[in-house]
C-alpha cells in the first residue's frame, strides 16, 4: 500500500481548473519528483495535499486513511509536512523561533526527543545553528530555504513535501540543497519533491511524474525519464 495515493484529483481556482484529474502515488521511503513548467499545477498539487486548497473531485489517501476532507492543521499531525514554495520563513521571528514553529502542532514525548530532533536539523544545516538568533527576514535565500526545510523536519514528517527548494538559488547552493534532500531521504523520510531543475531532481529520484497543464503526461523511474529524448528536449534544454 502506498503511503500517499492521489486518485483523479481535480482542483480549481474559481471557474478555472488548475488540475484536471491527476493520479499519483508515493511509496514509503521513496523520493518522488514532480516535474513541470510554470503553471503546470505543481504548487497546486502540493497545496491540495497539504489541505490549503480544496479538491473539486477525486481523493487523497494517506497511510490507508482518506484525508480528502481533512483540515490542513490535522494533516500536519498525521505526518504530512511541507516546506512551501517561496520558503514561507516568518520574517519577524528568529531562526530558532521559526524552527520551533515546525513542531507547533506536534508535541515531543520529552525534552530529549526535542533536543535530538533539533540536533539532527543543526547537523544537516550547521549554518542554522550559527544563526539561531537572527531574524528570518534578514537571511539570504539559501539560508531561508534551510530554515524552511529544517522547520519541516522539526515536525518529524512521515511525508515531506518540498516545493521548489532550488528556486532562485545560486548553482552551488542548489547542489548543497539537493545533497541534503538525498540525505534526508536516505535516513528514511519519504519525500515528494516539486522541481523545475529537472536534471538534478530526476537523477536523484526513485520515480518522477511529468506534469503538463494540469495533467500527468508521463511517469517512471527518475534515471529512465532523464534518458527520455522528449523529456531531454522539453526540460533539459538538449536536443
Amino acid at each position: 500500500m502506498p503511503l500517499l495515493e492521489i486518485k483523479d484529483m481535480t482542483v480549481g481556482y474559481g471557474r478555472i481548473e488548475a488540475l484536471h484529474g491527476i493520479s499519483l502515488s508515493v511509496e514509503s521511503g521513496e523520493l518522488v519528483t514532480l516535474i513541470g513548467a510554470n503553471g503546470a499545477g505543481k504548487t497546486t498539487t502540493m497545496r491540495a495535499i497539504s489541505g490549503v486548497r480544496p479538491l473539486t473531485r477525486g481523493s487523497i489517501m494517506f497511510d490507508g486513511q482518506d484525508i480528502t476532507r481533512m483540515k490542513a492543521h490535522l494533516r500536519v499531525l498525521a505526518g504530512i509536512v511541507q516546506a512551501p514554495e517561496g520558503r514561507g520563513v516568518f520574517p519577524g521571528m528568529t531562526v530558532q523561533e521559526n524552527l520551533d514553529m515546525g513542531h507547533y502542532a506536534r508535541k515531543f514525548a520529552n525534552k530529549a526527543e526535542y533536543q535530538a530532533t533539533l540536533d539532527h536539523v543543526f547537523e544537516l544545516f550547521p549554518r542554522l545553528k550559527e544563526r539561531r538568533a537572527q531574524m528570518g527576514g534578514t537571511m539570504s535565500g539559501g539560508e531561508q530555504q534551510m530554515v524552511a526545510i529544517g522547520r519541516a523536519l522539526m515536525a518529524r514528517p512521515r511525508l515531506l513535501l518540498l516545493d521548489e527548494p532550488s528556486m532562485g538559488l545560486a548553482p552551488m547552493i542548489i547542489q548543497q540543497i539537493f545533497r541534503i534532500v538525498s540525505e534526508i531521504n536516505a535516513t528514511g523520510t519519504t519525500i515528494l519533491l516539486v522541481e523545475q531543475n529537472a536534471q538534478q531532481a530526476l537523477s536523484r529520484s526513485d520515480r518522477a511524474y511529468i506534469l503538463e497543464t494540469g495533467e500527468v503526461v508521463k511517469s517512471g523511474p527518475g534515471p529512465e525519464l532523464l534518458a527520455d529524448p522528449a523529456i531531454k528536449e522539453a526540460y533539459l534544454g538538449v536536443a
Partner: protein, 350 residues
C-alpha cells in the same frame, strides 16, 4: 477655558457659540507633572483597548470597529457584578477597607473581562466568521463591523433594560457605584498621585506586561505572530487559523473588559450605551499611532495619546481635547505613515 465663548454668525443670520481656542502655555508649565500623571492614567486605558484593535488587525487585516462596544459591554459587565455583590448606587463611596475594596474590584474586573471576552468571541462567531467562510471582500467586513457596533449599542439602549427590569442599560447612564474615594497618596514633583491613578496605572502595567509575554514568549503567542506574518505557511505548520483568530478576539476582549473597570474608576458616570464610542476611536487612534498590528506600538501609542491630549486640553482649552488627539494622529501619520513603531507584529520589513 471652555467658559470663554466666541460667537460666530451662521449663513442664515443666527448665532453659533464656538468654544474659544486659547493658548495657555503657563498653565501647561505650572501643571506639567500632574497633567503627565493624569495623562498616563488615561493613556494606559487607551493602551489596553488599543491592543484589541491591533491584534485583530494583525491576524485578519480587519479594523474591528465594534471593539469600542466590547469595551462598553465590559463597563456594564463589571457594574452588574458589583450589583450582584450587593452594592448599589450611592452618593458616597463605600468604605470597605483597602483589602476588601481590592478584592471587590478584582471580582468586578474579572466579571468585566469575562463579559467583554465572551462578547468579542461571540461577535467574531456571529458577524465575521460567516463572512470569512464566504470569502467576502474586506469592505464587507468593515461595514459589518460598523453594523455590529450599532447593534450592540442599541441592544444596551433598548433590549437590556427590558431584560433587567430597567436595572441596566437604557437611555441614561448608570448611577455610579463607587468603591473608591479618590484620595491623594503622595506627590511627585508637587503633583498629587491619587489611589485611583495608582490602581489604573498599576493594573494596566501588569496586564500589558502579561500580554506582551504571552504574545512573545508562549506557544500560542507564536501562533498569533505566525498567522499575522504568513497565514498560509502558518496553516502548513499545523496552526488552526480559526482557533488563533478566536484567541485573538478573546485577548482583545478581556483587556477591553479590564480597561472598562479602570475607566469607570476614573469616570464613574460614563456607563452608558454610547459610552464606548469616543474612547474606542481614541484607542483605535492609539493603535494606528503606534503602528497598527504592532502590540508594543499599541501600548506606546496609548500612553502617548493620553499624555498629549492632556497637555493639549490645558494648552488650547478643554473643549479641544478630542481635537488634539485626532490632530496628533494626522500629524504623526503625515511623517510616519506606518506609525511610530511600524506595522505588523514584529515583522522585519525587508
Amino acid at each position: 477655558m471652555s467658559s470663554l465663548l466666541s460667537v460666530g454668525a451662521l449663513a442664515d443670520g443666527s448665532w453659533l457659540a464656538v468654544p474659544a481656542i486659547s493658548f495657555n502655555i503657563e498653565a501647561l508649565g505650572d501643571r506639567f507633572w500632574s497633567l503627565t500623571i493624569e495623562g498616563l492614567a488615561y493613556g494606559s486605558i487607551y493602551a489596553l483597548v488599543a491592543v484589541g484593535y491591533t491584534l485583530v488587525y494583525g491576524v485578519l487585516r480587519l479594523i474591528n470597529f465594534a471593539h469600542s462596544e466590547i469595551f462598553m459591554l465590559g463597563m456594564f459587565g463589571q457594574y452588574a457584578v458589583l450589583m450582584l455583590l450587593g452594592f448599589s448606587p450611592s452618593g458616597n463611596a463605600y468604605a470597605e477597607g483597602a483589602v476588601m475594596t481590592i478584592v471587590y474590584l478584582g471580582i468586578a474586573m474579572i466579571g468585566g473581562m469575562l463579559i467583554s471576552g465572551g462578547a468579542a468571541v461571540g461577535l467574531e462567531r456571529v458577524a465575521y466568521r460567516p463572512l470569512r467562510k464566504r470569502n467576502a471582500p474586506s469592505l464587507v467586513f468593515l461595514i459589518t463591523a460598523i453594523g455590529a457596533s450599532f447593534v450592540i449599542q442599541e441592544f444596551v439602549h433598548f433590549v437590556l433594560p427590558a431584560l433587567t427590569d430597567g436595572e441596566l442599560g437604557g437611555v441614561n447612564a448608570q448611577q455610579p457605584i463607587r468603591l473608591v474615594e479618590q484620595k491623594e497618596q503622595f506627590t511627585i514633583f508637587g503633583a498629587s498621585v491619587t489611589n485611583v491613578t495608582l490602581i489604573i496605572i498599576g493594573s494596566a502595567l501588569v496586564l500589558a506586561l502579561a500580554t506582551d509575554m504571552f504574545v512573545n514568549r508562549t506557544k500560542f503567542g507564536r501562533g498569533i505572530r505566525a498567522v499575522a506574518q504568513d497565514p498560509t505557511t502558518a496553516t502548513l505548520m499545523g496552526i488552526s487559523r480559526e482557533r488563533i483568530i478566536m484567541l485573538t478576539f478573546l485577548i482583545g476582549g478581556v483587556l477591553a473588559g479590564a480597561a472598562a473597570l479602570l475607566y469607570t474608576l476614573r469616570v464613574p458616570n460614563g456607563i452608558i450605551y454610547s459610552g464606548g464610542f469616543i474612547l474606542g476611536i481614541k484607542a483605535f487612534c492609539a493603535a494606528v499611532l503606534g503602528g497598527i498590528g504592532n502590540l508594543r506600538g499599541a501600548l506606546l501609542g496609548g500612553l502617548i495619546l493620553g499624555v498629549m491630549e492632556n497637555y493639549g486640553q490645558i494648552l488650547f482649552g478643554t473643549a479641544w481635547r478630542d481635537v488634539v488627539a485626532f490632530a496628533l494622529l494626522i500629524l504623526i501619520l503625515m511623517f510616519r505613515p506606518t506609525g511610530i513603531l511600524g506595522e505588523t507584529l514584529g515583522r522585519a520589513r525587508a
